[in-house]
């Protein structure tokens, strides 16, 4: 890794200008993945002096600064209270405490990692991202937009909901990337997402539509939902797991998750 210059900015607009000056300039968030993802950088732009490390609890939502560490999120009472702790639970299973003291929510979102254990969870919460230039963007639109302008994420807003939830990740070891991960929230309506397909996390919209238009969730309906889920997901094989194994995992845990949240 070769970084020519490290620049600590005093204003977010300064960071935005620098980022768009040169394709080889880059923002550093926590830096946990820097070593594995970055080769050549002209200016590495630090947001450390912008006071973006905060969690503010308002009446209906929680506002989270982009530089907030995963560990601070995971242990914050207001985050633990969201949708029966689904976000805190998912984060607490990401590698070890020391990595979570480095990695930030901003870096986790902007990295747009397909192995992310956080993106599937944000998809089933009511989460909006706020960029310096572009302003507000829904998390799903962000994930589905292939080419985004170079912009700076300043904060996230998550609506305070208290829905029942289910989160599952399956991995070879505690430190390995997920073979599959899955998030469900439910309050008469289902929101279901699957990530590490190994491709990017997505909402299972057709599956959700089927479940949501039926008042009674029966075994038969769940069987149908699983078929639709496997059809709309883009499961495939990689080094960690075959497509066939991922299909088995999705079927088993989606059934379990649905049963758990309607209990």
């Amino acid at each position: 890794m070769n970084v020519k210059e490290y620049v600590v900015v005093d204003h977010v607009d300064e960071a935005y200008q620098l980022l768009n000056q040169d394709k080889k300039n880059q923002i550093i968030a926590g830096g946990a993945w820097l070593k594995l993802s970055v080769k050549e950088v002209n200016k590495l732009i630090s947001l450390d002096q912008l006071s973006l490390n905060y969690i503010k609890e308002e009446k209906d939502f929680i506002k989270i600064g982009a530089q907030t560490t995963l560990r601070d999120l995971e242990t914050h009472p207001a985050v633990i209270a969201l949708d029966h702790g689904i976000l805190s639970d998912a984060i607490s299973n990401i590698m070890g405490v020391s990595i979570r003291n480095l990695a930030t929510i901003g870096g986790s979102v902007m990295g747009k990692f397909s192995f992310s254990d956080i993106l599937p969870v944000l998809l089933v919460m009511d989460c909006k991202l706020y960029f310096h230039h572009k302003g507000e963007m829904d998390i799903e639109e962000y994930i589905n937009t292939r080419r985004l302008d170079r912009d700076i994420l300043t904060h996230l807003v998550i609506k305070k909901n208290n829905r029942k939830s289910f989160y599952k990740r399956v991995a070879h070891t505690a430190l390995d990337f997920s073979m599959i991960n899955m998030a469900i929230t439910y309050d008469n309506l289902f929101k279901i997402s699957v990530g590490s397909q190994p491709g990017m996390a997505m909402l299972c919209k057709e599956t959700m539509a089927l479940l949501n238009k039926n008042d009674k969730i029966t075994e038969n309906l769940i069987d149908q939902a699983l078929k639709i889920a496997l059809k709309e997901l883009k499961l495939s094989s990689n080094l960690r797991a075959s497509q066939a194994y991922r299909e088995v995992l999705v079927k088993a845990y989606l059934r379990r998750g649905i049963m758990q949240v309607i209990k």
Binding site: M1, N2, V3, K4, E5, Y6, I28, G31, A32, L34, K35, L36, L44, S46, D48, R71, S92, M95, G96, V97, S98, I99, N101, L102, A174, L175
Partner: protein, 150 residues
Amino acid sequence: MKIKLNINHENKIYEVEPSEFLLDVLRRNNYTSVRRGCDNTSCGVCTVLLDNKPIPSCSLLAVKADGHKILTVEGIQEEAHKLGKHFGDEGADQCGFCNPSMALTVYSLKLENPQANDDEINQYLVGNLCRCTGYVAQHEAIKKYLGDQS
């Protein structure tokens, strides 16, 4: 670039490259209890405390640590000695390569959650690998250390 660090309660000023990681700077300046293992955040032997929180020094750019407080195992000698005694009593020591990082992580667990139960201890140590012992004796030693009021 010049950075200021407070390492083990002493103020230091170092000249560092923007690409250098904290681990490289510490080892170059003779803090050799901080080890290089996997060098990519998986093994935990490079752990130091940054403002009392464990972080993998192999993956924190040195420039990002500017102005912060760093502790290596030499900075927590009294606590490391206590933990070392419990490790010895339980037969939890083998090669010793991971001990400094283990001591720092366990010390920070004690600061954060002195009443940690078995699950919480396991969760907290996920990122600290020991390739010798199998963890059972270490777990017993850590439980005794957390209960040690001396």
